[in-house]
């Protein structure tokens, strides 16, 4: 448990430091170049209720669990 908490804390602190120092990064894909990314087919969670169901189907029959994704957001298309 201690190792887990240490790992977790180090990851999040490193993320904080990294993000604090990188606030001036220029986006290399401009907003007007994101038409393809805005297409509904370019969404990891295109069918969230169906994805959640399949995750449940696999979790009930496999030992592996976690990191299934679905935290949303990402392409900044809107």
């Amino acid at each position: 448990m201690n190792i887990l908490m240490k790992t977790w804390t180090v990851i999040t602190v490193c993320c904080s430091l990294f993000l604090a120092g990188c606030t001036s990064v220029e986006p290399w894909v401009k907003p007007y170049e994101r038409a393809h990314l805005a297409d509904p087919i370019m969404n990891f969670q295109r069918n969230p209720v169906s994805s959640a169901y399949m995750t449940h189907v696999y979790q009930a029959r496999e030992a592996a669990r976690g990191a299934e994704g679905g935290h949303g957001g990402g392409c900044g298309c809107n």
Binding site: I11, S16, P27, V49, Y53, E62, A63, G66, G73, G76
Partner: protein, 384 residues
């Protein structure tokens, strides 16, 4: 800036606050208003599971979105475990979830609560998450924490009641790589503490005094488990308005289980409002260090498992989804509507779990078990 690392649970929330405070405010995006009604069916290995799932997501004002999900599993089970050591049963599991998202600048904070209830198992989960868009909305970083409180009961013993506490820690990164490609990286650690085995399941051991050559004893699992999973996914837009995706996930835990899965898929829209998707998934895992199909004698070790989900096996899934947008350009209050049919066929091949329905085989030499499952979904999605 923070340099000292103090390992406490409160520190997790503190780091979240730190992360929030060091990121410039841009513009986050709440999910679209939508409603989904799904009916699902699973048929495989002697198990039939059907039921509905209803999801509603609605924005309230500019900065808040609320969601609710109602899900039911109606289970009729005559699985190989049930056939060989128990009797067929039926039960329902009902799951209700509510959640809320609050957007502030480029950050979205989420809270959710889920209750899952069945005859002999109840689970309550509370979760908190934060995600932030940054670098010109090309990057989304998310953090999440969830805690579950479960109660395990036994329908054959009204006095039996055991607790399980579970904690989930998630980190996610979603990144626009090019104007045609997006990827995401997710890590999740889960810790469990409490009664982690199924109170009905038994382990098998060699018993020369038994007419069949073996007997059963209750499974015994460790009281703790910690697992780590990391997954990378990529989605690529093809030149002819189609998309392809790929996923890889690595998993390991303190029970010495290691698992890998890959998935690839292809999404092809047609001009008439149809969208076709095909996919393939491969999964493999090794066994928990306390798993055996046949233990050499009774009480041969401290922990005993004969759950096939903890054995060494592989599975292959091939599936497709067909979607049709029946509302494409708005109709009264509906912006868009689609009807969808999905089907997946899964083949499970076990490397160390034997089919005990074959009575004439020598003990420990019975044929290995395998089965296939048909998973079907039909659902309607409406955006409003």
């Amino acid at each position: 800036m923070v340099v000292a690392v103090v390992v406490t649970r409160d520190h997790f929330l503190f780091v979240l606050c730190l992360l929030c405070s060091t990121v410039p405010a841009l513009a986050g995006v709440l999910p679209d208003d939508r409603a989904d009604v799904l009916y699902h069916s699973y048929d495989g290995g002697g198990v039939d599971i059907t039921g509905p799932s209803v999801l509603v997501l609605k924005k309230i004002g500019q900065n808040v979105a609320v969601s609710g999900n109602y899900y039911v599993d109606s289970i009729s089970s005559a699985s190989i475990d049930v056939v060989t050591t128990a009797s067929k049963y039926s039960e329902d599991r009902t799951e209700v979830s509510v959640g809320a998202d609050y957007m502030h600048g480029d950050s979205i904070m989420s809270i959710a609560y889920t209750n899952s209830d069945e005859d002999d198992y109840e689970s309550d989960t509370a979760s908190f998450g934060v995600s932030m868009d940054m670098f010109g909305n090309m990057t989304t970083v998310s953090l999440g924490y969830a805690r579950s409180w479960d109660t395990v009961e036994n329908n054959n013993d009204p006095s039996f009641s055991k607790d399980v506490d579970r904690q989930n820690y998630k980190v996610g990164l979603s990144q626009v790589l090019t104007k045609d490609m997006i990827m995401e990286l997710n890590y999740e650690a889960i810790t469990d503490e409490g009664f982690l085995n199924n109170p009905y399941r038994s382990a098998r051991y060699v018993d020369p005094t038994s007419p069949v050559g073996y007997s059963y004893e209750p499974e015994v699992y460790p009281n703790t488990r910690t697992s780590n999973a990391i997954a990378v996914r990529a989605l690529y837009y093809l030149p002819w308005r189609a998309a392809t995706y790929a996923e890889y996930r690595f998993f390991d835990d303190t029970w010495d289980i290691t698992a890998h899965n890959i998935e690839i898929g292809y999404i092809h829209p047609l001009e008439s409002g149809w969208i076709l998707e095909g996919r393939y998934r491969y999964y493999t895992q090794n066994a928990a260090d306390f798993y055996s199909d046949l233990f050499p004698r009774q009480d041969s070790q401290n922990f005993l498992a004969r759950d096939k989900e903890l054995s060494e096996f592989t599975s292959n899934t091939i599936g497709f989804t067909v979607s049709y947008d029946f509302v494409q350009n708005g109709w009264y209050a509906i912006d868009r509507g689609s009807v969808n049919i999905a089907y997946d066929h899964i083949l499970f091949d076990y490397d160390d779990f034997r089919d005990l329905r074959k009575k004439n085989a020598p003990v420990g030499k019975e044929p290995l078990y395998d089965f296939s499952a048909d998973v079907a979904q039909i659902f309607v999605s409406i955006w409003f």
